[in-house]
């Protein structure tokens, strides 16, 4: 092994002398350490018994107020007994090592990581002999054939993963990520009570989290999937204080507008509503959308305007959708050019 080039202005004085410990020279100190260690170990069985008592005797729902915090009594006491017992085992072992075990430092040799040249030589010769014995030198196709065959076997291994999920072909995308259960005539309902929303009952400045009434037909995974796309927010703003483009005149009812609740960034449900500015802020990464201006992005990492749901009222004045969203909700994806979504200045 070669040493790195080091110039040494001060010569190496060699290993420092080893000062004896207190416990090496003073028997009383050593005895004290001995007692401490044994004492700690003796506390462990006591704590274990306490653990068992807690396990069987303390009811699961008992609460414990400790330093003002409301703790679950069983969890806390089980943890305290087991934790302190474990800690004592650790501390006693280290105390033993530090105080009573011989603390003579020893010095070992290092050898370079590399094998000695003879060993390398021998392995290379063995390798050579082996290769010769295999006949691969004379019959070249053996090697290529084997490598090729092994390589090809990667294909079945990889291809059999192709059923991990359905393939998002254009056809499937149109049925999944490009579609929600909103459709013409579907009622907007409050997302907690599932009651229909009446246009006249919404006041200016109010925001309601809503769902399609048809969501109730879904359960389990399907429910989660539909909810992950169909969730909306309904806001009422003063029609004179907002900009409604020509093309979206009849998407709203007297300043009641409806937008997707799913952020176009990575899909968090958006929730923070600023009445004054008509801004809606996503709590995840703070993308901000202007609901008074067709949901365009005014700040943050989101790149697309929030999709707006065209709505109207039915005969009794309840809010209903006029159609599904006109563009997919949620984050953009590769296969669709999102630059044609609504942008600032569109009419």
């Amino acid at each position: 092994m070669n040493d790195p080039q080091t110039d040494l202005p001060v010569p190496d004085p060699g290993l420092e002398e080893h000062p004896p410990r207190f416990t090496d020279v003073d028997d009383a100190a050593a005895d004290r350490a001995y007692k401490q260690i044994v004492g700690m170990l003796a506390a462990v069985p006591v704590l274990v018994v306490a653990f068992l008592v807690v396990y069987f005797a303390v009811p699961r729902d008992a609460e414990l107020v400790l330093f003002g915090a409301n703790l679950k009594m069983q969890t806390t006491l089980l943890g305290l007994t087991a934790g302190v017992a474990t800690l004592l085992i650790g501390i006693s072992a280290i105390h033993w090592a530090r105080m009573l075990m011989s603390d003579e430092e020893i010095v070992g040799d290092r050898h370079g990581a590399a094998s000695p040249p003879e060993a390398r030589e021998r392995v290379l010769t063995d390798l050579e002999t082996g290769i010769e014995a295999s006949g691969i030198r004379r019959r070249k196709l053996l090697g290529t054939g084997m490598a090729g065959a092994l390589g090809m076997m990667a294909l079945p291994a990889v291809v059999s993963l192709a059923d991990m999920g359905p393939w998002p072909t254009a056809e499937l995308r149109a049925k999944t990520i490009e579609k929600t259960i909103w459709a013409e005539g579907v009622h907007l309902v409050n997302d907690v009570t599932f009651t229909r929303l009446k246009a006249t009952e919404l006041v200016v400045g109010q925001l309601v989290n809503a769902q399609p009434e048809t969501l109730q037909e879904y359960h389990g995974a399907a429910l989660q999937q539909q909810k992950a796309k169909a969730s909306i927010i309904v806001v009422r703003m003063d029609p004179n204080s907002i900009r409604i483009p020509e093309s979206r005149r009849d998407w709203q009812v007297d300043g009641i507008l409806c937008y997707s609740k799913i952020c176009t960034h990575v899909g968090c449900p958006i929730s923070l509503w600023e009445q004054q500015t008509h801004h809606l802020l996503c709590p995840c990464h703070q993308s901000t959308f202007d609901l008074g201006n067709s949901g365009v992005v005014v700040f943050g990492p989101a790149a697309r305007a929030l999709p707006q749901l065209p709505i109207t009222t039915d005969a009794e004045g309840y809010l209903v959708a006029r159609s599904d969203f006109t563009v997919p909700v949620g984050p953009s994806y590769f296969e669709r050019d999102s630059s044609k979504d609504f942008q600032e200045g569109d009419r």
Binding site: I91, G108, Q286, S332, R336
Partner: protein, 568 residues
Amino acid sequence: MAKPAELNPDSPALEVRTPPKDAGPGKLAGPATWVDDRIGLAKLAGNIRKVFPDHWSFLLGEIALYSFVILLLTGVFLTIWFKPSMAEVEYAGTYELMHGIPMSEAFASTLSISFDIRGGLLVRQIHHWAAMLFVAAMTAHMLRVFFTGAFRKPRELNWIIGIGLFSMGLVEGFAGYSLPDDLLSGTGLRFVDGLVRSIPLIGTWAEFFIFGGEFPGELVIPRLYMVHILLIPGLLLGLISAHMALLVYHKHTHWPGPGRTNRNIQGYPFFPIYVAKAGGFFFIVFGVTILMGALMQINPVWLYGPYNPSQVTAGSQPDWYMGFVEGAIRIIPNWEWHILGTTWSWNIFLPGVGLMGLLFTGLALYPFIEAWITGDTSEHHLLDRPRNAPVRTAIGVAGMTAYAMFWLSGGNDIIATQFHVSLNAVTYFMRVAVFVAPVIAFIVTKRICISLQRQDAERVLHGSESGVIVRSPDGGFSEAHVPITPGEAYSLTRHPQPKALVPNGKKVGRLRRRLSAWYADGQLPKPTAAEIAGAAHHGAIEADHGTPAVDAGHDAPALEGSDAGDAR
């Protein structure tokens, strides 16, 4: 029926072969011989008195190892009850506030572990705390290895294994965080859904493959469960074994000091000292995580409720180790490209996949980049003090600063509300800070390193300050210095200093020459033997002129003397 073969009573095969009974020392000889006869234990076990050096900074890796063991133990306990299923059930357990609420079986079983299984909540909390500790200890350990140059030849491969462990630790933690299917973990998964979708070309496909269709579907938790309890723990276990095997093979690095060289290793024997110390330390780490699980609540999923794609808790944050990605995602401008009818979501891909890729690739390549710059091909078993590799140290601190800036950006909303500034201002500030702060950190760190080098040189030349002020006959005041021990003087001067590459015969490219000059630039040359001797002489003259030498035993810094022994 087969007829028993004729036996030849004289056959040697029948001879009862008894191994020579050369018993080893003491009572252990019996069982030891029994085992050794069968598996050659003495050959396998090698040197149980193997030397390991002692230093607090070597404990960081141990903490990571032990918390992994704790995760295995507590994780197995959790698997006894956890149900990795997204099927919908109506809750009917003991937690009254959620009676009748539809939720996934995964969430319901997490509630059951927390409320119905005695000790279940404790173990869940230990598991989560140990996960935090695991990632934190790995990070600290990695920084220790970086700043002391322990990644240099021959340990580059072990560094790469370490980076593998670090990156997989993050994935493992994320997978575990997602399992309970509570509101926070579902929000995290939705984030991953968007992140995967943003991958150019294959994003939508990857998303459909991972989730088995549209988000969230009902496959992702069972799949993450497999990843969490089988795939990654298996890989981690394999890599950890390789990591430890290489550690034993290379032997641990040690800090420079008297008698410690590149060819030896000084410390305590594995048996019995490290069996007791390291074994004891395992119990301490375990004890501390149990106490944390007992006293500090973590991830109270019953307060968040089951995942609901239309809800989010305000200020929802991932576990801390994902904070830097979260921050990058928050502050990036909303860049999107549109090419030939496709969308390229750089605003998500770059800070998410790109930043993690950059971090791990950069870390993995660093040892090779540094060796290329310095042209250093020798083996290193002595650690560098960070100040003696100023550029490396400055690069490290700059990297940490960049990480910290991204991480802080992950709380830009909290910073804005706490300090009453606008969120936009914080975001714009952070966009600049992630680039500027590391540069400042680099410059400042390098300066600090060099001034520490100066302090070292001062100490070697003039000794340490004694705190005694003396007054000279002509009225001046000065502080007397005591000479330092030869051991310390050696430790402070033995380090190699990076030198700029000079093309002697071999061709050195321009970029490489420049980089190596940059790497070596600005260091304080260490005191030469002549300077040290000169300073000692000067000190001796001063002493002759009546300045009381504080250490009355010898009147000149003893370095000069050939008999260093009596200087102590």
